[in-house]
């Protein structure tokens, strides 16, 4: 049992790597798509709506399977440059996680944009500030602050979501836990340790978000 602990800690690094890379890519996607969502052009905002509708409306597991096993069966994908990335389980997981968290992040940011009081924007305009500067200096900072609690939730959900990487052969925390169980036949002990590591990570994320909320409160 004790000998399996270093293996689980090693796997935790892979879990954290998956989480951080997909959160960064997902945040960029989320910002882009939330800006598209509040755009007045119907084609642009319908497209962004469709993206978030699809990725929020289907299970993450199904998305990973479509990207990993589904796309891998198509000949024209295998012969294209995309296969360089799609061949590797790591990139398939990153793509699925990023697109998924990107969709949720775009919704979180969109609703944050919508809660900004029109008075603040009007105040900016009445002072003769350019609308571009209003957007970057007033709307975006307020939206980010407003969305912090919901985004913290999303990070925690994503942390647990990374456990699905084990279904596409990646040896993340859950994958290694399952592997240890398959050789020791002791599911309860191993899952309790793995669960404890997830809880600890959640604790860290929770406190980081709380700290940021305090720092940027107004």
């Amino acid at each position: 049992m004790i000998s399996s602990f270093p293996k689980l800690l090693n796997a935790t690094l892979i879990t954290l790597k998956l989480l951080s890379v997909s959160l960064v890519v997902g945040l960029i996607l989320g910002i882009l798509f939330s800006i598209m969502r509040i755009n007045k052009n119907p084609i642009i905002n319908k497209f962004a709506y469709g993206y978030s509708y699809f990725f929020r409306g289907t299970p993450l597991l199904v998305q990973i399977f479509i990207i990993y096993f589904g796309l891998g069966q198509l000949e024209f994908i295998r012969s294209s440059f995309l296969w360089i990335f799609l061949k590797e389980p790591y990139w398939c997981a990153i793509i699925a996680f990023s697109l998924n968290t990107g969709a949720y992040t775009s919704e979180i940011l969109r609703s944050a944009f919508e809660t900004i009081k029109p008075g603040l924007i009007e105040a900016g305009k009445s002072l003769g500030i350019q609308s571009k500067i209003i957007f970057f200096k007033i709307q975006i900072p307020i939206a980010i602050r407003q969305s912090l609690p919901a985004y913290g939730n999303e990070i925690i959900l994503m942390l647990k979501g990374t456990s699905l990487a084990s279904t596409v052969t990646l040896m993340d925390l859950t994958g290694v836990a399952k592997y240890i169980i398959s050789t020791t036949f002791k599911p309860i002990e191993v899952f309790i340790v793995a669960g404890g590591i997830y809880l600890f990570l959640t604790f860290l994320i929770h406190n980081l978000i709380k700290f940021l909320e305090k720092k940027y409160s107004f």
């Binding site: 891998g72 069966q73 389980p89 399952k178 169980i181 398959s182 036949f185």
Partner: protein, 275 residues
């Protein structure tokens, strides 16, 4: 009587009835994803060599049976936790597993083989037809050496927690890049997609897949037996369940004598894999 009281009484009675109905049933766990050993037909019904054999053995034991589905990687823990009483899931008898559970005598033999897609550079490797790892003779060592150099730098795929994974990680074929999957279906899919250069499983698992899917999957290298590959496939039973173990051993004896195992094996494998 109030509605709630009536309802809970009804619930209690039905609970009691299910428990007593299950009490003398032998529950047999199988994976349902390893054709032709055990799999599911289009309607979701469990079929395959072991499913049919299980019903036959139960008839000889003279008790009612129920076949329960269980994911492969949780098979032994599920048996220990009494989710079912016996495993019939193409599980080879190995020393490692015998530390956790008992096995009946073997009822069928499984040879393992490597498989590649047609056109792979591994198609040309020349080894003997089959090697038995129990006795590492000079010829066996020579074949393992050939395999070690042929597999270097290749991604070798196999199902998790199997004898095949144990062999690949045993060092007999050097340090290689092993990728493990939850089911054999997934191994087959990634062998076809090209993510795996080569895969290892029961030879029949590949020939069955090649036949049903029409994909050009071909067997290469020797067939493997003995050593890490264990001593045939048997019924897995909890260590304290000695009565059930005896009953299964007797039933297997009878089924073998009456030719049932051979008949069912020939039906599902196309050859007599009984032992």
């Amino acid at each position: 009587m109030s509605i709630i009281k009536k309802f809970s009484l009804g619930l209690l009675i039905s609970l009691f009835l299910t428990i007593s109905a299950n009490a003398d049933k032998i529950r047999i766990g199988t994976e349902g994803a390893y054709p032709p050993w055990n799999s599911k037909d289009a309607s979701g019904k469990l079929i395959g060599f072991e499913v049919e054999l299980a019903w036959t053995l139960c008839r000889y034991i003279g008790q009612q049976c129920e076949i329960v589905e269980q994911d492969w990687d949780g098979m032994i823990p599920a048996l220990i936790m009494r989710k079912f009483d016996a495993i019939m899931a193409g599980m080879s008898i190995t020393a490692e597993r015998q530390k956790a559970i008992s096995f009946s005598q073997g009822y069928a033999d499984e040879v393992a083989s490597l498989a590649v897609m047609k056109g792979s550079d591994l198609e040309g490797i020349s080894t003997s037809e089959g090697i038995n790892l129990t006795k590492k003779t000079g010829a066996v060592k020579k074949d393992l050496k050939t395999l070690t150099s042929a597999l270097a730098g290749k991604t070798v795929c196999t199902q998790t927690a199997t004898i095949h994974q144990n062999f690949l990680e045993s060092g007999d074929v050097g340090k290689i890049n092993v990728r493990t999957y939850k089911t054999q279906d997934e191994v087959n899919l990634d062998l076809t997609s090209g993510r795996c250069d080569v895969a290892l499983a029961a030879a029949v698992a590949f020939t069955d897949y090649a036949e049903k899917s029409g994909k050009p999957v071909v067997l290469v290298g020797p067939t493997f037996s003995g050593g890490a590959f264990g001593n045939g496939v048997g019924v897995g039973i909890r260590k304290d369940d000695t009565e059930l173990l005896k009953a299964f051993n007797k039933a297997i004896d009878k089924a073998r004598k009456n030719g049932d195992i051979s008949r069912i094996a020939t039906k599902w494998f196309g050859f007599d894999a009984s032992m």
